[in-house]
Subunit: 128 residues, 2 copies
DNA sequence: GTCCATGCAAAGACTTTGCACTGGT
DNA sequence: ACCAGTGCAAAGTCTTTGCATGGAC
């Protein structure tokens, strides 16, 4: 039987009230800032459980794994600055994608759009 | 100026003639089986260059990063056995996906369908 | 001949684990 | 009271790096 500990609630609180998409390192720092005395091992163990329980999702990018609260949405990853932003797709779009894949038994689709974000495009026109 | 070394050609040869989607560890083993005396650091350095040069792509999954020769295709990841298989989508499907996302400046889309593969479904009906 | 890439081993970064203790049920 | 979850530190794993040497150009 799984327990609803303070630490688990604290970690979830940080993820749910976080506009970035933190890596495990960043998440640990954020959690520790808000709730000191939480162990690093606890963050690792808890996040893995939250992912297993489908409460949190992993976003796997070139620069490592990021975490996000599990809503029906997808992500854009900036190849220049590494920032991740949310992407929402019409649900019929997702259905079409699924049927186009000809796969059955799909539980989730991970989509990461990679490119240059508006901010980087503005700041550094030639570099991109 | 980038050099076309023996090791680079050997690593590419292994990736191109490999039906699995190896992790870096598996890739190193495959390369070493076929071409001994190749250093681990070389495999790490070379694969990163190949990814930067868009010759090889990363497939980021729950169980880590896998590598594949860069063709226009996507992947299915079995949540049970971890096997990765190729998924091909009509190119107009991808265009629709892009326009649905409302993003501009997208260089690539990474899509990983997650679910249970046919083989696992057969072998273990109740577990899935 | 130049200097980028390699191989090795060591360092560094990341993640898991063992164990005694705490706190949720 | 029981035992899953925690905190710490140590172990284990993964990845990068420094440096001397070798090979591509």
């Amino acid at each position: 039987m799984e327990r609803n500990t303070i630490q688990k609630r604290q970690i979830l609180d940080v993820i749910m009230n976080c506009y970035t998409h933190p890596t495990i390192k960043e998440l640990y720092e954020l959690v520790n800032d808000k709730y000191p005395n939480i162990g690093q091992a606890t963050v690792y163990r808890t996040i893995n459980k939250l992912v297993q329980d489908d409460i949190v999702i992993r976003i796997d990018c070139n620069d490592g794994t990021h975490y996000d609260y599990n809503r029906e949405h997808y992500h854009f990853y900036c190849l220049n600055c590494g920032k991740i932003t949310d992407v929402y797709l019409n649900s019929n779009m997702v259905d079409e994608l699924l049927s186009s894949s000809k796969l059955t038994e799909v539980k989730r689709i991970n989509i990461v759009f990679e490119g240059i974000c508006d901010n980087c495009k503005k700041l550094n026109k030639d570099a991109c």
